[in-house]
């Protein structure tokens, strides 16, 4: 045959072989070593911003529980926050008929039909951390964001001796962070009425914006004595803002979560404490709940036809980790600095 | 004579210069009329005016006695005039039928093209022109010659009675040219078409034209018809009445040995069997019209382009240059005709430009440029060549054309060449600078350099060359000694004419 046809054919075959080789070799569902042979059971965690630290922690817990139970687990989802993409991933995953799906939703509404569709196919679906309340998901596991804010408020109230001005840095439009703000404000109102929140800045999802907005707010309010960032992204930005205007010694900065940037700031003393929840535990617990849902017993459950999965939502508490605690406790440090990662 | 088209006093200016002045001529109905002239005579501009692409600044066009005003090609079509340009504009991946009816395909009420109807109509048009091609064929699969035919079919299908062809045979083989002429004759015979075409191939002109008009330097010289059309007459009209050659700048030193010899250089599609010998202290001029292959053959010689076959001997040894860099290293330097694009780094200062080809000589041990040394060298050239303004740190782009040419020369001279090849060195340059460059070239030759001068300006060739290599259509047509050589003799050599009638 003609030379160019041959060349094209060769190229095509090579590409095809590459792809199928990758497909066969790329299986990344992990095996467990449980007692009963459940190794053909599959549970999928569908999230957005796949690869982000927080969700990797959730999956680490999810996977640990899966290993214990002897079932397979998988992590799927778009690398960005495109809710429509995530819904499509969920639809495709549904086609695989896993035994259970855990979803962290990019927004509150878009995944409704995808989740309901999966449920319609007989697959139990629950949500964790980012809920989709409009859907029929069996339950929601999440941080009690109200108490999250309250914990921070308590610490700041104490540190400031009951009076002073405070700035909040938060992500506008995030229900979770709005709740944290509300918890913070409520706790202050109730226990430390002498403390006033003078401004609430938007971190808009990235550290640089957090920094610039916070800097502006600090300059506009020279009497501020504390800054609370309700989200992980804003924490490093808030710390940088305080550093920029040179008042690290005077202002108490409280961050959220334990992202690498936040931890580094704590080492340097730029963040004095951070409020953390426990995504690993949430992931672990989610797996257990899903498993329960997928394994009904002889006794009919309240969630029939699914198993004995909780019928109400589960809220997990949070704790405050101060910079001293972090730097002095080796185990704690160990836990937080080794972020799990998955392909 | 039944004139279908009359041009009266047509004048056209571009940027303050007259490209055509007071051109008046008549085109007879149904005839094949050729328009010829040297490069820059204004042929193409005139055709574009008739075809509606340009509007004349002065003068009037009359068709069938009526004055017509053409603002664009569409209006020209409406007046029955169509032009086929030298650059083809076919859509490769569409069919012949669709190309012919571009934008005017027959449609049904949804605006959907009626393929069958279109192919039939196209088939009819092709048939009338005697072309046997399937209208459903993709144009991209056709040869360039056939694509041109399709282009002609497209233009003709606009129901024109005057067809203009701009250099239609420049990329055709002899057989294809015959086919084209066959088509032209048929159009005239069967459709009463009037055909005007531009060519600089006199043999073709003689083969097919009923009448020939000659332009020179934007002026209309005259029209020849029937028996009057001979090569010598045409050459005479194109070139003019110069009985004496221009003042020749004679060499002041004796002829040196042959330093560069080319034998049988070939590159498929560009040039064939090019041979010459270049002596030190002498200037060899290479003359030819556009498409002659002069620049191409030299570019292949110095390694900038491919060379298919042939032998190059330099300083007695056979060499094969693989790049201009290698050529420069050996002492063969080529000075391009296109200063802007290929020669100068316009945003950079002149000192950077001048040392560009000799950076090796001006680099310090620490791999930086030795500015002081460079400065001295550049200063020297600014003085010698009188570059204005005489500063070193202005960007080259801010200098006038003539000075840019001087800067280029400085760059070249700095590399201390043994063979200097200059391509159209005085293009776009004014008289004063032209003289300077001419004298400089002769001085360089006298100092021992062998100079190869490529030019399409005959007066320049005759003023400087000790010998003239004449090229036409990729071939050497003659090697002439410049002993009172006249323009007529050179042109005759171009066209292969031995005798030139007065």
């Amino acid at each position: 045959m003609k030379k160019r046809t041959r060349t094209t054919l060769a190229m095509v075959l090579v590409l095809a072989l590459l792809l199928t080789a990758g497909a066969c070799g790329g299986k990344k569902s992990e095996e467990g070593s449980g007692a009963a042979d459940r190794s053909d059971e599959l549970y999928v965690y569908v999230t957005f911003e796949k690869g982000s630290e927080y969700f990797n922690w959730v999956y680490a817990g999810f996977l640990a529980a899966a290993d214990e139970l002897g079932v397979k687990a998988e992590l799927q989802g778009p690398a960005d926050a495109d809710a429509s993409q995530e819904a499509k991933v969920l639809d495709t995953v549904t086609g695989k008929h896993p035994n259970g799906i855990l979803a962290a939703c990019a927004d509150q509404d878009t995944m409704v039909s995808a989740i309901n569709n999966a449920l319609g196919e007989g697959i139990p679906v629950i949500t964790c951390d980012s809920d989709c309340p409009g859907s029929d998901r069996l339950c929601y596991l999440g941080t009690d964001n109200s108490s999250f804010g309250a914990v921070a408020a308590e610490y700041i109230g104490e540190q400031l001796g009951g009076s002073g001005e405070v700035i909040i840095v938060t992500l506008f439009g995030s229900a979770a962070q709005e709740e944290r703000c509300a918890g913070f404000n409520d706790h202050l109102a109730e226990h430390y009425p002498g403390i006033r929140v003078v401004e609430t800045c938007n971190e808009s999802g990235d550290t640089a914006t957090a920094e610039s907005n916070t800097t502006a707010a600090l300059q506009a309010n020279p009497g501020v004595k504390a800054v609370f960032s309700t989200g992980g992204t804003g924490s490093a930005g808030a710390a940088a803002a305080v550093r920029t205007i040179g008042r690290t010694e005077e202002i108490v900065v409280v961050g959220s979560d334990f992202g690498t940037a936040t931890l580094e700031c704590m080492e340097k003393g730029e963040i004095h404490a951070t409020v953390v929840d426990d995504p690993y535990m949430m992931g672990y617990q989610s797996m257990l709940q899903l498993f329960a849902a997928a394994h009904p017993t002889d006794i009919i459950s309240a969630n029939a036809p699914y198993g004995h999965i909780t019928t109400s939502d589960i809220y997990f508490g949070c704790s405050l980790v101060t910079a001293e605690e972090y730097t002095e406790n080796a185990d704690l440090k160990e836990k937080y600095t080794n972020t799990p990662s998955f392909n | 004579m039944d004139a279908i088209l009359k041009l009266e006093g047509i004048g056209k200016m571009f940027g303050g210069n007259y490209v055509l002045k007071d051109v008046s001529l008549e085109i007879g109905r149904g005839e094949v009329h050729a328009v010829i002239g040297e490069n820059g005579a204004g042929k193409s501009t005139l055709m574009k005016i008739i075809g509606g692409i340009y509007e004349p600044n002065e003068g009037v066009i009359r068709k069938n006695g009526e004055k017509i005003l053409l603002h664009n090609a569409i209006e020209a079509y409406k007046q029955g005039i169509g032009i086929v340009h030298q650059e083809l504009s076919v859509a490769d991946n569409l069919t012949i039928a669709e190309n012919i009816f571009a934008g005017r395909q027959p449609v049904n009420r949804f605006g959907f093209v009626r393929e069958k109807q279109m192919c039939e109509d196209a088939g009819k048009i092709l048939g009338e022109m005697g072309i046997r091609l399937d209208p459903r064929e993709k144009v991209g699969n056709l040869s360039v010659a056939m694509q041109q035919i399709i282009e002609i079919a497209k233009v003709v299908s606009h129901r024109i009675d005057v067809l203009i062809l701009d250099e239609p045979t420049s990329s055709l083989s002899n057989k294809e040219i015959a086919h084209l002429f066959e088509l032209v004759r048929r159009l005239c015979r069967e459709q009463g078409m009037t055909v005007i075409f531009i060519s600089h191939k006199l043999d073709e002109v003689m083969a097919i034209s009923d009448r020939v008009s000659v332009l020179r330097n934007g002026n209309f010289i005259g029209t020849l018809s029937g028996e009057e059309i001979t090569a010598s007459r045409m050459i005479h009209m194109m070139v003019g009445d110069q009985l004496d050659s221009r003042s020749f700048l004679a060499p002041k030193t004796p002829e040196g040995e042959v330093i560069l010899r080319a034998e049988g250089l070939c590159r498929e599609g560009k040039f064939r069997d090019v041979s010459f010998a270049l002596q030190k202290n002498r200037i060899l001029g290479i003359f030819g019209l556009i498409g002659a292959g002069r620049t191409e053959s030299i570019l292949s010689l110095i390694g900038a382009d491919r060379l298919d076959s042939g032998r190059v001997t330099y300083e007695g040894r056979e060499i094969r240059l693989s790049s201009p860099k290698e050529a420069i290293a050996k002492g063969i330097v080529y000075l391009t005709e296109n200063r802007r694009d290929l020669g100068l780094f316009l945003p950079k200062e002149i000192s950077d430009n001048v040392i560009a080809a000799s950076l090796g000589a001006f680099t310090t041990k620490r791999h930086t440029v030795d500015r002081k040394k460079a400065g001295e060298a550049v200063e020297g050239y600014i003085q010698k060549l009188k570059i204005q303004p005489p500063v070193m740190d202005k960007p080259a782009g801010t200098y006038s054309g003539g000075n840019q040419q001087k800067i280029l020369f400085s760059k070249v001279l700095l590399t201390d060449p043994k063979v200097l090849i200059v391509d159209e060195p005085t293009k776009g340059v004014d008289i004063g600078v032209k003289m300077t460059i001419h004298h400089m070239l002769r001085d360089l030759a006298d100092s021992g350099i062998a100079v190869l001068l490529i030019s399409s300006e005959l007066p320049e060739i005759l003023k400087l060359s000790d010998r003239v290599l004449v090229m036409h259509e990729g071939e050497c047509r003659g090697l002439l000694e410049n002993r009172d050589l006249t323009e007529r003799e050179v042109m005759a050599a171009v066209y292969g004419e031995k005798e030139v009638q007065q």
Binding site: M11, N343 | A102
Partner: protein, 331 residues
């Protein structure tokens, strides 16, 4: 006779467009391979899920095919799609019925498309820059208006109609199939649509043929934006919500489908809707395969990129070798 024979051979060769054939071959090979790796791959559910995943890319790719044939590019679609989804939701929540609401956003998109071309002509800048700027502007607007949240709570009548299925298929998929068929026929047969080929191949020559190049270019950009709006409306049908994050990187995926399908970005005037659809199916297939077999998401982009390069290579070097398109020096 000889002419007739060679033309027959040419007709067959033309159908067997080498790049499209290569892609079709890949599609077949991958499908077969995947059905072994994972059974259920060829199930009705999976095929529907696969096609539905790429409906927005598909609708947009139809418009982009014309844009790229005409020699331009339109990146604003990635901003227009979420913009229309958001505005559509807002209109419905404000009480506008879902049908006139559609008309309004489609008209708005048409205006955006016209602005694209207007700016391109005014500023004499490559459409890449203009449409990229428009995309960023729209995305900024989307973010501000939605405050990074999603819009939901649409009226009952809309919720009902959006769940309607035709022949078991969701509305967005049906709309895509209809539009694809329509665009394919129009581009192949409609005289005005076909002017895009001439304009893309050689705008000056097209002008000389009497084609109003300006009108054609306005049309090209307007239809691209309008189709992006359709994709946005279909997203709302799908999710009964709108979020500023919809459609990120939509333009890249759609362009990949168009280029893999054989439309050339370097040579104007070449391309077919059929090719785009093949390219689309291919990408949807590859993505679906990745998802089902669990290949790392990051590798997906690498491999998609490799396929894009491969497709372009086949197109540029093999299919069009020796064909005019690049200018040569004359002297």
């Amino acid at each position: 006779m000889r002419q007739k024979m060679s033309s027959l051979k040419n007709r067959i060769l033309c159908r067997l467009d080498i790049q499209a054939s290569a892609v079709v071959l890949l599609i077949v090979v991958i499908s077969i391979a995947m059905s072994f790796v994972y059974d259920g791959f060829l199930s009705a559910y999976n095929i529907k899920a696969m096609l539905m995943s790429y409906v927005p890319e598909g609708i947009i790719a139809l418009g982009l095919t014309l844009v790229i044939i005409s020699g331009g590019i339109d990146l604003s679609v990635a901003g227009v799609m979420p913009f229309t989804a958001i505005v559509y939701c807002m209109l419905m929540k404000a009480g506008v019925h879902y049908l006139p609401g559609m008309a309004i956003v489609l008209a708005a998109a048409a205006a955006i498309g016209a602005v694209n071309n207007f700016l391109r002509r005014l500023l004499d800048v490559h459409p890449f820059i203009i449409t990229m700027a428009v995309q960023l502007t729209l995305k900024g607007f989307n973010l501000v208006v939605t405050g990074a949240g999603s819009i939901s709570g649409l009226p009952e009548n809309f919720m009902e109609i959006s769940q309607v299925r035709i022949l078991g298929l969701k509305i967005p998929l049906v709309v895509f199939l209809l539009l694809a068929a329509l665009w394919m026929v129009l581009l192949a047969k409609n005289r005005f649509f076909r002017k895009v080929y001439f304009v893309g191949g050689n705008p000056k020559a097209a002008e000389l043929c009497g084609i109003n190049v300006n009108r054609v270019m306005y049309f090209v950009f307007i239809q691209s934006a309008v189709l992006a709006a359709v994709a946005g409306i279909m997203a709302v049908f799908n999710y009964q919500a709108a979020n500023y994050s919809y459609g990120s990187n939509l333009d890249t995926r759609a362009i990949t489908a168009v280029v893999v399908g054989g439309t050339s970005m370097t040579r104007g005037g070449i391309g077919k809707i059929g090719g785009t659809i093949i390219g689309l199916v291919f990408i949807a297939l590859v993505y679906n395969s990745f998802l089902l077999s669990g290949i790392n998401t990051y590798y997906q982009d690498v491999i998609t990129g490799a396929f894009l390069i491969g497709a372009v290579l086949i197109g540029e070097r093999i299919k069009y070798r020796g064909k005019p398109g690049k200018k040569e020096d004359k002297s």
